[in-house]
Symmetry: C2
Subunit: 216 residues, 2 copies
Amino acid sequence: MTIIITAFERSPDGGKGLARDTRVRWALEEVGQPYEVRRLSFHAMKEPAHLALHPFGQIPTYEEGDLALFETGAIVLHIAERHAGLLPDDANARARATAWMFAALNTVEPPILELATARLLEGDKPWNKERMPLVEDRVRDRLNLLSARLGDADWLDGAFSAGDLMMVSVLLRLRSSGILDEFPNLAAYVARGEARPAYRRAFAAQLAVNTGKRPS
Amino acid sequence: MTIIITAFERSPDGGKGLARDTRVRWALEEVGQPYEVRRLSFHAMKEPAHLALHPFGQIPTYEEGDLALFETGAIVLHIAERHAGLLPDDANARARATAWMFAALNTVEPPILELATARLLEGDKPWNKERMPLVEDRVRDRLNLLSARLGDADWLDGAFSAGDLMMVSVLLRLRSSGILDEFPNLAAYVARGEARPAYRRAFAAQLAVNTGKRPS
């Protein structure tokens, strides 16, 4: 069955790969599944047709036959459970890889989202300059512990998994802040993720869309 | 095999049920699995023995034989996958219930966490009074869409599932803000969750610990 995902017609990041469809593209590339992309304007994302697919009016969504899914974490987990390449075979190791997916999305990403919000939505507020160091330190608190756990390992728990895919994707949002470079092992971890052929294909595909090179 | 979870020695909320062990207790009660609780001081949570179990030094964790898990979302999903009662039988419906778990944790909870942070960590800052309405409105943006999707249904997608368990748990954090009451169907949805016998047992168990009634 054809897999169809949704993405921004034009990503707000201009093709840096930070829109969440990149995470789903990456997962699909890792497991070797072809997919089609339906691109949506900001206006279309808030219309009833898309809200029926995604209650919060966001991208990406995932359609495959009579299954329709929203939430990047759920989509990546669905792909990882149905195709080899993103989860280990051992049941306990699979549960631990899933724990790293949730850790990326519910423990590491929230302070990073707060940092993004402070820049994008409160950058012009009188308190922003004084408040920003507090927000950045809350990100550092999490990265300190993540860095300690990763140590000099290549990936978070054995072989590369959907947990690493999600953690690398979350950490990529920090690159422009400079905070990632304060943690050399995490910066190297992200670089290892970006060097994977599947990531490079996913990144190139979203870049082509956002620079208008080809309408995929 | 005995299931052992960790919880605060004394919850910062004094037993309101907002600590994340309540979510795991609730899931275990829904599927009828007994469990033991190991209580941790704030000091012990940051020591190497606990960091080996939970890289971010938080509660809850989950141990069962040779499986050790962290992250509430992963623990509840693990429980739901291995025992009947929290996920539908149909594969597509299971994937959709999982999507609601991720939606609770990665779409609805982040702005709620930001609201909690603004109160707990920035309540004494000079900008807090002026900034708070912005933070509250970001919560309302999400609740508006969630309320529209729920409509007059009892649960988010058919029968009660792990997705509802997580969404109700996340929304409970809003009660003291008054924002939940602005959305009568969401307030009623949360009340339906709290009325479930399994929730009531979970709530009573954490309350007993935090009021010192019994050391479980």
